[in-house]
């Protein structure tokens, strides 16, 4: 873990900061999430560090609680997509034949529909709840993870040690979890960072469109939606989530970049 470049350290620091903020939201937020404490769109002051929102709630508190919701949904969706996508991807690579063909063609089909359009079609009939959002985002994103996991696993699958495990008579589950998974972990972790950012942007977009997290629950996309009318009067409240999302995304990106570089240099600098 030594020789971490400075950019990765900055990234790690801010990523950790955001996740700690999400976990300890109730301790950090000065006011409650739905508590009306002041006038509409008050400028920032000692009482309200970021000012107040469209109905007089403390913006800082809402940003902290909103970060909690956004980060929770994005994390859950990423975990779901990675578990499902990588296991299926490895499975397809190990089994080959018609199972591989069927899974891969189905994934191609789903990927040929734009993600946002597909999500909108599904959310027009499904109830818009947080578990549903996680499910939709996780399943749609799993197709991307599947592609990567399969590509990585196909390369590993032809290695001698996998052949040896086969000849030893190991079962498919052993080959997937004990032979392929440990060797595919690094590229998958780097990809996980990027998928996480994508999930943050995606859930924010859905909430902004009014099809994500429902009020009175706060989340970063929803805060933009609530305060967007202020923009025309020159009140920048709606821009605060932009800052939060951008810094979180850039931090995670820096970490993912570092993980990716580290793994390629481990292969003797060939990658």
């Amino acid at each position: 873990m030594k020789n971490i470049p400075i950019s990765a350290l900055i990234g790690l620091f801010f990523t950790a900061l955001y996740f700690l903020g999400a976990i300890f939201a109730p301790l950090l937020a000065p006011y409650g999430v739905g508590e009306v404490v002041g006038d509409v769109w008050e400028p920032s002051s000692a009482d309200y560090l970021l000012g107040t929102d469209n109905i007089g709630r403390d913006l800082l508190s809402r940003m902290i609680y909103g970060g909690r919701t956004t980060i929770f949904i994005a994390t859950a969706a990423t975990v779901l997509s990675f578990t499902l996508g990588s296991v299926l991807g490895f499975f397809a690579a190990v089994m080959g034949g018609w199972i591989d063909q069927a899974l891969s063609r189905f994934v191609d089909l789903v990927m040929s529909i734009p993600t946002l359009i597909f999500a909108l079609v599904v959310l027009s009939v499904a109830p818009v709840t947080i578990p549903m959002l996680i499910l939709v985002m996780g399943l749609l994103d799993a197709t991307r993870v599947y592609r990567l996991a399969r590509a990585v696993a196909v390369d590993i699958e032809v290695m001698d040690y996998v052949e040896a495990a086969r000849l030893r008579g190991e079962k498919t589950a052993w080959i997937i979890f004990r032979e392929i998974l440990p060797n595919a972990l690094s590229p998958l972790i780097a990809e996980m960072g990027l998928r996480f950012i994508f999930a943050v942007l995606f859930v924010s977009t859905l909430s902004f469109l009014g099809l994500g997290v429902q009020p009175p629950e706060a989340d970063w996309g929803g805060i933009v939606k609530e305060n967007k009318e202020g923009i025309v009067y020159g009140i920048p409240a709606a821009l605060i989530p932009a800052f939060a999302i951008a810094t979180l995304a850039i931090s995670v990106n820096l970490v993912a970049d570092w993980v990716l570089n580290r793994t390629t240099s481990l292969k003797g600098g060939r990658g």
Partner: protein
């Protein structure tokens, strides 16, 4: 039949098949999911009679396969059904909005594509020096912010603080082209920023890939200057990958407009779709979903066709 015609025919047939399968996915996606459509339209307080009437009107009681076939044949003849909420004919409501959306995406592409290719070439010319690094830093920043927020940031600074352009993009048929372009200047700027990053990076990667070939070294040894090497030798060979990137990004543009239209209150298809998703107007959502998917697949198909046509090995078989 020459192999290239066969190849193109195969590619087009594949796209049509894909579109058919997608129509099944979109249709199935709205019926197999949990949740009663009639219930969600009318709300929890609906009477059983009202629910039963609406279900009959929606045709929920018919077998799904029959409904799908009726829907598909209707859609192929331009009949997309009527909207549940307003009773309007969907095809009629969509036609002008569809052209508005294409108008916006077209002008965004006119700005974004040449700019991205130029910046990509610039990044290659000054590889690993400050122009390259600046460009990649700006790229990283612009892919880290959701497009609707880029929209509000520009709206706040350019439309509200500086008052250069209007903050909402209202267009109608009576406006001249210049007035329309002035109205959509901000949405175009946002869309350009959104696709520029990706397009430029891929252009840079495609040209760098070509730059490692032997004929580039020959051209350099011949004494051509750097821009001439890129322009005359690297660029023609990088056309296929670049066109591919451009098409993929145009496809992305068509989807990206959905959110941008909502931000700038632009009367396009995206805003119509989002409106009707929250009203749970399933026929409208299906129709919009199908059209967006068709445009997306069409652009991807064109990308592949250009790649086939620009490959001399396929154009002149032995």
């Amino acid at each position: 039949m020459s192999p290239i015609v066969k190849l193109l025919a195969q590619r087009i047939a594949l796209s049509l098949l894909l579109l058919l399968l997608i129509s099944i996915v979109i249709f199935a996606g709205t019926i197999v999911l949990p949740g009663d459509v009639a219930q969600s339209i009318l709300g929890q307080s609906a009477t059983p009679e009202a629910l039963a009437n609406l279900r009959a009107e929606l045709g929920v009681n018919d077998p799904p396969v029959e409904r799908y076939i009726a829907w598909l044949f209707g859609a192929m003849q331009g009949d997309l059904g009527t909207a549940l909420t307003s009773g309007q004919d969907i095809a009629q409501a969509l036609s002008s909005r569809f052209w508005n959306t294409l108008f916006l995406a077209f002008w965004a592409a006119v700005v974004a594509v040449p700019l991205a290719i130029f910046l990509g070439l610039l990044a290659v010319r000054f590889k690993d020096r400050w122009p390259d690094k600046t460009i990649s830093a700006v790229t990283l920043a612009s892919i880290s912010i959701p497009e609707f927020l880029i929209g509000y940031v520009l709206m706040y600074f350019i439309a509200v603080q500086l008052r250069w352009f209007p903050s909402v993009a209202m267009v109608n048929d009576n406006m001249s082209l210049f007035e329309k372009l002035n109205a959509i200047a901000l949405p175009i700027a946002v869309l350009t920023l959104v696709v520029l990053a990706h397009m430029m990076r891929m252009t840079r990667a495609a040209i760098l890939n070509v730059m490692q070939s032997a004929y580039i070294e020959t051209a350099e040894l011949k004494g051509l200057n750097a821009f001439q090497v890129i322009y005359r030798h690297a660029f023609p060979n990088a056309i296929a990958p670049i066109v591919n990137v451009v098409m993929l990004n145009l496809a992305y543009l068509v989807v990206g407009v959905v959110v941008i239209e909502v931000v700038f209150v632009y009367p396009g298809m995206g805003q119509y779709l989002v409106d009707h998703v929250s009203k749970r107007d399933v026929p409208v959502v299906q129709a919009c979903g199908l059209i967006f998917a068709a445009v997306y697949i069409g652009l991807n198909m064109i990308a592949d066709i250009v790649a086939i046509l620009s490959n001399p090995r396929l154009r002149h078989p032995k």
